[in-house]
Amino acid sequence: MSQSHRLNNEGLVNRDNKISFKFNGKKYFGYEGDTLASALLANGVHLVGRSFKYHRPRGFFGAGVDEPNAKLQIKLNGHSEPNVNATEIELVDGIEASSQNCWPSVQFDIGAINNFLNKFFPAGFYYKTFMWPKSFWYKIYEPFIRKAAGLGVASAKKDKERYEHKYEYCDLLVTGSGPAGLSTAYAAAKNGAKVILAEDKPRFGGSLLTDNVTIDNLSGKAWSYKIISELKEMPNVIVKNRSQVFGYYDHNMMVMFERTGDHLKDKPKYTPRQRLWYIRAKEVLLSTGSIERPIVFGNNDTPGIFLSAAAKEYIKVYGVLVGKKPLIFTNNDSAYETALEFKNQGIQPVILDTREEQSSELIDEAKNQNIEIKFSHAVMAANGYKKVKSALIGKLNKDKSGFETSETIECDCICVSGFWTPTVHLASQSGNRLEFNDQIDAFVPNISKQNEKSIGASKGTFTLKETLEEGFKIGFEVSKNITKNDNFVSTPNSNEPKKNIHDKFWCSPLPEGKDYKRFVDFQNDVAVSDIEIALREGYRSIEHVKRYTTLGMATDQGRTSNLNGLQLVANVEKKIVPQVGHTTFRPPFTPITIGTIVGREVDMEYMPTRKTPMHTWHEKNNAVFVDAGAWKRPRYYKQGNETLLEAAKREAKNVREHVGICDVTTLGKIDIKGPDAAEFLNRVYTNAWLKLPVGKARYGVMLREDGIVMDDGTTTRISENHYHMTTTTAQAANVLSHLEYYLQVVWPDLKVNVLSTTEQWAGAALAGPKSRSVLAKLFPNLDVSNESLPFMGYVEGDLFGVNARIFRISFSGELAYEINVESDCGLFMWKKMMDIGKDFNIQPYGTEALSTLRIEMGHVAGPELDGRTIPSDVSLEGLVSKKKDFIGKRSLQKEAFNKSDRQKIVGLVPTDKKSSIPEGSHLVVNKNAKLPNPKLGHVSSSCWSVENNNPFSLAIIKDGKNMIGKKLFAVSPLKNTAIEVEVISSHYVDHEGKRVRS
């Protein structure tokens, strides 16, 4: 099909590269350099979507980020993406686009019935109805509303694209490459500053690409090319197109996203789809330009109605006519440029100007070119349903509150200009409190709160000459402050048409007896009447208006509706716009792909994976791993068809009967050195540490200041002023920060240093009655007898040429040792142990067996030390010194902590000796009691006791020890179990602790 609206000799698209694409199933052609919007318009396609609420036909309105309507579902490279802005996405081969929010098709949409019933769906209607009968809201109305809402369809498929992050520092970040941005970046770069120039669009130049101006005796476009190519050559400049700075964060942290992949037909491998830049800029120069605002009139949402600058951009950049019988509707001079561009292409436009007859360079030029101009005229309403067919226009009365005449004029497009709104989003995000400028009827930046300046149209400077002057001057001054250089570039001469002031007209009055929908916010279907209702009902704050009507809350975030909405509120409330105020500008400037924000931390890289030096061995030996924070730990080593429980029983039993080996590398390890180390430990732990001899280990418990147990572990005195602390795997990082806090902040006088050595040591626990025999063979030159290396003893040894630390400590309750070697030797150590242990029936055991062993011994761990327990709750009161002070001690005096029936740890066995008690069960007296059934406590850890061959659990219950001997029910309504249990001591195995000392 031929491109009916494509011009032959205008535009910047590459006519040598024809690109095919599909829209709603039909095949079309466009050119390289087109957006999807320009390609569709070239083919005469205007109707692209349906509106959110009323399902009214909608077409293109803008040519970039200003577009409220043209959000399409795009299929490309096997991915389907909703809500893609057709005016921004570049045309590449194979795009399949389709309209959203319509059924069965955009041409015939059942939902459009809403449009005919729109009288019944004013702003806030859903707050007033759908309440009867009660259950219908959730069951009937809401599901219907949910189905009707939403725009495109999210694909449930995993995104296989790659997204990257990049970090940069610069002296100046310049956001936008129009005349303001180019001149600033150029002046600063020439003065030696490190500059990043970011342009959202694929092409640099901004308005210079479309405006009929000259700079330095070149056309605006040619000058922009020249400057950009110079900047690109400079080593101190990074020039980025397809890159939008979307957020201004604290301390001049700017965030930009770059579209690196979607415009490429064959994306090279490893090229990301999009890239997120975190840029720390010393100075930010905001040259974001301005966005044309519409004039509100009847049926102003009909396809074929455009912003006038967009229509001009389609001609100048894409060589596309948005219509062949254009009506230009304006309150200012700039739309005359659009009219003249049409005229240049042999198209005869008609101009409606709300201002009285006047003369200016552009107006005179239009007159000279025989363009019909109707002054003091406005559009009352557009006619046509799926496309503009004509317009009802009229002559405005003196105060512009009504019309004196009325006539219908044929047209196939209406190009509207209601003057310009500076793009102040980034300035506002920086903390700059905007002020209202009534010369231009818009908000502009005021006093900078961070190192930020606006230049050109983004601060309301609308002439080229002043913009260039500002740019060259500020670019030089700002860079001079940073680089101390003095290379001044003078502002080039420029030429532009001089413009008259605009008319404050922003909304056409309704003609007598008509109630046309006049839309302020297109995408969310917010009309003038909706805002009037909100105000009538008392929703008078602009935030209330916004929330009640959803004005400005659509995906275009009110870029074209914001000021007109404020004007309307001001008019009704008899205020001026600055009294109404504005809603907050929040990042991002345009919607940002979530994948881009996240970057590479996906799938297995969501979090780091920490592996011990013995990990490969575990893998080879059928270990099933469990996540312990970032660590991977063997949970059990699967043999044959074993279940988890069977394996845990086997491994634990082997420890009790023979010897087992467990990878304990993940425990936190902290080196503590200094003459005051003992005193420090004495303050950190609840028990006494001053008299621990060299070569001895001690178990310790540390509290938070609120008295709650923070962590436990053993600490060993390696030498006079050197201690080795172990922490739980989970708390390792917290404990180190905790120790550093007390050393640096609270007790800086203590001469102690702490250092994490977790990664330096690989650790293996050797546990079981035969562990000493294995140890003896591992260290043939060492006396490992009970006398020489008693419980809680420590020695250093030589493990076949490797230095090893041997701690006689036990978590399993058996005779046990923990051996540490340098991490690089971990695997060597492990293999040696397995090798030597063969004769003693050695088996590796995982965390599940480890739990079994510690539970039946009554040793507490994470489930008991859950951030809510004090030492006496878990039978650790014996470790709490009465004599000395320590962190958190004072809190232990609290009333609740000393109540006689305070929760305490106990053991439980099911009375049938068979039923395992689910962890998380609660203990009750009466399993059938009426709810709420009073709870005595909960089951914290459960295991199958390998020693006694029946289930055993630890529980923390009210009045703890006094309950021993009582029978209760452990109930888990979630699992529908109620098990009768007997309360016993929490030490189920080896009460006296003989084994560890054997």
Binding site: T129, E142, S155, T555, G595, V602, E705, D706, G920, N933
Partner: protein, 418 residues
């Protein structure tokens, strides 16, 4: 007061919607009130409503610095639940669930409460056990809870990542089927409209500049719109509690932090209920409009900025994609922040104070929205009767010194790491 219904809607359509009444008036402050509620947010508006309705105290003013509903009631992610472990939290919020279920009818304002359920996902057996402890506690308190295994979770959210190459696989989850969401603004407006109709003065754009306290008793307040006499003040200004406490020379067990949330562009329904990720800070639901509403973590340092950091959003969304890879292709539309009263044990404070006539409602952390009705109801009782109700007994100010903490997460006083 006009009654809202389909009939009134049709009737008004024929008069071009020109005959709707004001939802609430805009009165000038009187010289004196029986009770002054400071803060026109959810909690303040609900308190005023229940004072009028349950205790027939209608000579009440709500003093709001900005516009009603502009604080956290208008900035939250609208989750309503009672899935708590501690009895005090559970009872209180389950009482609130019953108020939620009837709220639209009671207020004659559709607050769109919909019990689409919440699932807290677990990614290890240890986490499953911790959830079982909480879920069983809920069940024994008469609150609905279901423990789901991996397959059951998959049936409900098949688009979550159940593939092999996932860092923290889903083990299962704890669900509260009766939990849900509501339209947050509507809650504020609904309470405001009813309170107004019963005689409560809603005074907006009125800043409290000081308190008149003598002999240990409240005598009145000073505002930007003049002095107001009153014997009773209810402070409902979560997020600004510390600022007003300073004016009263009070220090509280509260730090002020920023919580951010964000929404995606609207898409067709893909997620029905609320889901929380168990291996990171992330929760999500889909609004009736189609936006994915997401939140998760504090910015991590004291803040009154109502504007947050991108790294926090990045951190939250990273968890989002880990759970729901399809989110990667959606676009983040809008981010915003709300200022939180982070209490030292993560639970709120609703209590009397050492100043006679000064009542405190604060410390909601990031769970204030769900408690709006129960908080308003119990606070109204506390103010009207000058004594705490059984339901808010546990939320006393002195629980910290006495040791009766309600630390659902067991994280202690480092409020910024919760």
């Amino acid at each position: 007061m006009q009654k809202y219904s389909i009939f009134s809607l049709i009737k008004n359509a024929f008069s071009n919607h020109e005959k709707w009444d004001l939802a609430w008036k805009d009165p000038t402050p009187k010289k004196e009130y029986d009770v002054v509620i400071i803060g026109g947010g959810g909690h303040g508006l609900a308190t005023a409503y229940y004072l009028a309705k349950e205790h027939k105290i209608t000579n009440v003013a709500i003093i709001e610095k900005g516009w009603i509903g502009g604080g956290n009631i208008g900035r939250n992610t609208t989750i309503i639940r009672s899935n708590f472990m501690y009895d005090d939290n559970a009872k209180f919020n389950e009482f609130g669930m019953n108020l939620w279920r009837n709220m639209s009818q009671e207020l004659n304002f559709n607050v769109m409460f919909s019990p689409r359920g919440i699932i807290n996902l677990a990614h290890s057996d240890a986490q499953m056990n911790a959830y079982a402890r909480r879920g069983n506690s809920m069940r024994l308190n008469g609150i609905d809870a279901v423990l789901l295994n991996r397959e059951e979770v998959k049936k409900i959210i098949p688009m979550a990542d159940f593939s092999e190459d996932v860092r923290y696989p889903i083990f299962g989850g704890l669900a509260q089927p009766s939990a849900g969401t509501a339209r947050h603004d509507a809650v504020a407006w609904g309470y405001a409209r009813q309170a107004d109709s019963m005689g409560v003065d809603i005074i907006q754009n009125c800043e409290v500049t000081g308190f008149d306290v003598s002999a240990g008793k409240i005598q009145g307040i000073r505002t930007s719109r003049g002095d107001i006499k009153t014997k009773k003040i209810g402070l409902c200004v979560a997020g600004s509690t510390n600022v007003l406490a300073e004016k009263l020379n009070m220090t509280l067990p509260i730090e002020t932090h920023l919580l951010q949330a964000c929404v995606s562009e609207p898409v067709k329904p893909i997620l029905d209920g609320v889901v929380t990720f168990g291996a990171g800070h992330f929760y999500i639901s889909q609004s009736d409009k189609g936006e994915m509403v997401m939140g998760g973590d504090l910015d991590g340092y004291n803040s009154y900025a109502q504007k947050g950091n991108l790294p926090t959003i990045q951190h939250v969304l990273t968890g989002g994609i880990a759970l729901f890879p399809f989110l990667s292709r959606l676009k983040m539309l809008r981010t915003w922040g709300g200022i939180m009263d982070m209490s030292m044990d993560g639970s709120p404070i609703i209590d009397k104070t050492h100043i006679e006539g000064l009542y405190l409602n604060c410390g909601w952390c990031y769970g204030g929205f769900k408690s709006v009705p129960s908080s308003g109801w119990t606070f109204a009782h506390t103010i009207a009767q000058d004594k705490v109700h059984e339901l808010n007994e546990g939320f006393s100010l002195n629980r910290f010194s006495r040791g009766y903490l309600l630390d659902e997460k067991g994280l202690g006083t480092k409020t910024w790491i919760s």
